[in-house]
């Protein structure tokens, strides 16, 4: 049984990591301890950051918020909401995936995973919204980088490296995030009954216009039952295009979209309430709520997504019928892979496809068995692996912070 330590502040965290460094004792870092993401690791010690929590500085007019790293993300979102602000990258609420109910977790966990929601293709990823941080490296030293300003080339941009490092480089203690104004208004055009090929064409076409679509996703007909919205049919596939901005401009652009895609006449416009709900459900991955199966995220150049889907998700000849949906205007596929095939042959084929087509696949949820032995990320580039090991070493020379969480042996 792992021993859990809950330090209350940065000094205690630094002392704890320093002691572990001296004793070469590996630590599993956890905040709200809810999301078993990444490779399974076994440590005798667990560092739980939940007590190092609270909003430190929030300056709405400066468009940033500085918080202690153990702060629940929900607390941050609620504080921002009071000032009609939000986190532009639409944080992914992984609670549904893991436990069937909302749980954003902590800001440290969110930053460490660098997962971004539907607006990502327009406004950038979480890593683009992380302005700075303070953290404790693997030697127990407090390091800081970045600041509260958006433009900054003062030394290496370590924020980029810490985002998505799954706690393997340093223990975050403070985080500074860029905040953005909430869109004044939002509506969504839904087109029913399209094939994934046609949806992909629509995504490509719409991004060649100046209509500034800020959400573009596709649910096939076998993956829409969970969409319990009055204006969305749950019998045919759903292609959704979101428009945000001042009300009048949103109305104009929605009308424009309807005109451009008038050949597809089964259309519905979701008004603001349903529109917001639709994208929340999408960002929360609610279609995979409590799934017992393996869930993977595939990032591809949008032009090859159709080929991926026809190969792995909707092949009538092979009768492949994996539940999936497309996000980021076709640049992202979320897919469920049946645990019935314990060797995950199809996963291997997907990895091969991704590597050949300039993309990658990340296993976001899997059972313990898979997490012990399977690959978490798909990169097989030896040079990158060597460089990544050196980078890890530069922060955490004794490899005590979440060792092996991303790569075995690093």
């Amino acid at each position: 049984m792992s021993e859990i330590y809950q330090p209350a502040n940065e000094v205690e965290i630094a002392q704890y990591v320093y002691d572990c460094y001296q004793a070469s004792r590996p630590i599993e870092i956890s905040t709200l301890n809810t999301k078993p993401i990444g490779r399974s690791i076994q440590c005798s010690q667990t560092l739980d950051l939940r007590k190092n929590s609270g909003i430190m500085e929030y300056a709405p007019e400066e468009l940033y918020i500085k918080v202690k790293a153990g702060t629940p993300l929900l607390e941050i979102l609620e504080a921002l909401k009071k000032n009609k602000q939000t986190l532009g990258f639409e944080p992914v609420n992984l609670g549904y995936l893991y436990s069937g109910k909302s749980n954003f977790g902590s800001v440290a966990g969110t930053v460490s995973c660098n997962l971004s929601g539907p607006r990502r293709f327009k406004v950038g990823a979480l890593r683009d919204h992380l302005l700075g941080f303070t953290a404790i490296n693997g030697k127990g030293e407090s390091i800081q980088s970045g600041g509260t300003v958006v433009k900054n080339v003062t030394g290496y941009d370590l924020s980029k490296l810490l985002a998505g490092s799954y706690g393997t480089l340093s223990v975050l203690t403070e985080v500074i995030l860029k905040v953005t104004p909430e869109p004044e208004h939002s509506e969504t055009l839904i087109i029913h009954g399209l094939s994934f090929e046609n949806a992909s064409k629509i995504f490509s076409q719409v991004l060649k216009t100046s209509l500034e679509v800020s959400g573009a996703c596709y649910y096939p007909s076998n993956n829409i039952k969970f969409l319990r919205l009055n204006d969305v049919k749950n019998t045919a596939s759903v292609t959704a295009l979101r428009i945000e901005g001042p009300k009048q401009s949103v109305n104009e652009r929605i009308q424009n979209l309807q005109k451009i895609f008038s050949e597809y006449n089964d259309q519905t416009v979701l008004e603001v309430y349903q529109s917001n709900l639709f994208w929340k459900i999408t960002a929360n991955l609610e279609c995979f709520s409590n799934s017992p199966n393996l869930i993977a995220k595939i990032s591809l150049p949008p032009s090859v997504t159709s080929k991926f889907v026809s190969t792995f998700a909707e092949d009538p000849i092979l009768r492949i019928n994996n539940k999936y949906f497309l996000d980021w205007a076709g640049g992202l596929v979320w897919i469920e892979i049946d645990n019935a095939d314990p060797s995950f042959l199809i996963l291997e084929k997907m990895k091969k496809f991704c590597i050949e087509h300039g993309g990658h696949i990340t296993v976001v949820k899997a059972d313990l068995n898979y997490r012990r032995t399977g690959l978490f990320i798909s990169s097989n580039d030896e040079n990158i692996k060597i460089l990544s090991a050196k980078v890890k070493n530069s922060f955490d020379p004794k490899s005590i912070l979440n060792p092996g969480k991303i790569y075995a042996g690093i």
């Binding site: 468009l63 683009d128 433009k151 080339v153 003062t154 104009e252 990032s299 040079n383 460089l387």
Partner: protein, 495 residues
Amino acid sequence: MSLFMPEPDQQTLAKASSIISQLRKISKNVLSEEEEKAVYETDGLSVHRQRPIAVVLPENTEEVSKVLKYCYENNIKVVPRGAGTGLSGGALPLKDCVLVGLGKFNKILETDFENRCVVTQPGVTNLAITGAVQHEGFYYAPDPSSQLACSIGGNISTNAGGVHSLKYGVTTNNVLGVEMVLIDGTIIRLGGKNLDPEGYDLLGIITGSEGLLGVITEITVRILKKPQSVRAVLIGFNTNDDAGNCVADIISSGIIPAGMEIMDKPLIIATDNFAKAGYPRDVEVLLIVELDGTETEVNTLINKVLDIANKNKASYNRASESEEERLRFWKGRKAAFTALGVISPDYICMDGSIPRKKLGDVLNKIASLSKKYGLGVANCFHAGDGNLHPLIMFDSNNPKELKKAESFGADILKYCVKVGGVLSGEHGIGIEKRDLMCEMFNNDDIQQQLNLKKAFDEKNLLNPGKVFPILHRCAEEGRVHIHKGKTRFPNLPRF
């Protein structure tokens, strides 16, 4: 002008002719004559000059790889160079280095509208990328003022911004992938045409690393569709504080303009004389706000901005009524550096970033420092993102003035850090602000960055002497804090 740089390696200097002949076996473009090398002896920070052992202009990635491998095996320093327009001396050669110029990497390799990206070689200019895609209504968003001349590779090394970065981000937010060569000759690819590379975000760390981690040989950037409608508004104020408050109020109201720039009176006059931009000459501060989107959206936002301006005692306003007029508004601002060259023999351009609410405060501080040093200053700011470019005027024929100008600049940057800002927003640290890093970071912070450098370049051969303070120099200038008898940077290697 003397500049403390890493001690040249005598052994390397002694075998210069053999190095040149070895390099000639790798590349047919090796420059070793003094007059040939003279072109490469400085960059946009022209007060410092140094000729390298040789300049190599490789033609492909393999050549870059072979040059670096040769240098790595023979412990020869390497300084990479793009177009040489950088303002912080990041491409200044060292006496005992081989300068690797990427000028022959000047082709756009692919314009991919399906995936909304461009694959290009690093020597292509920033503006040429937009040039290659504008026939389809696309553009590349980051637009540094030097975009006609600066290379996209150089943009990555300094994480270049521009007047539109407030809404569309800086280089790091617009780069999808790179091919690069590590100092030992290893060629790696990071990212590509898809989003959010897995594993450590090495692409994110390369961007803004000022040529210290590798040599970039290919770049994939994302391109955006041009907005339907774009208009700019000129707003004049009588005080710095009113202008600063107006900027803060615009942002607080939930508007993110495409660009928001401030110029002070000396620059208003200089740029208006130079570019005939039609600026009001009886205001102390001029704010240019650009709004984009659909026509209705832009018109609504312009009215909101004008309301806010009036509440902040604006004394002048004019919204562009045509595309021609909008471009004229920008012509003055974009020519700021050139226009100043007409009225002052020399100037140095600073690049601090500060919290927006401190704009008025910092402008006032700069004015008082200007009096203290007896040197003129003109200010242009990317006000929306708090990035300031005070231009300190001096005459390099008077050696005392350069020293004074540098101290003036350092004082401005220290003040930026004091009010919660940073040393550089988009020009990079280079050699110019290297010794001020002690103002922002403590020993552990700097040591962590140096350790990361080692992960990429263990022998410290790539662009040494840049970005990080040299201990000796810090101590000389009295900036090293002595705490309990220990120096603040006990572990800094002395290179």
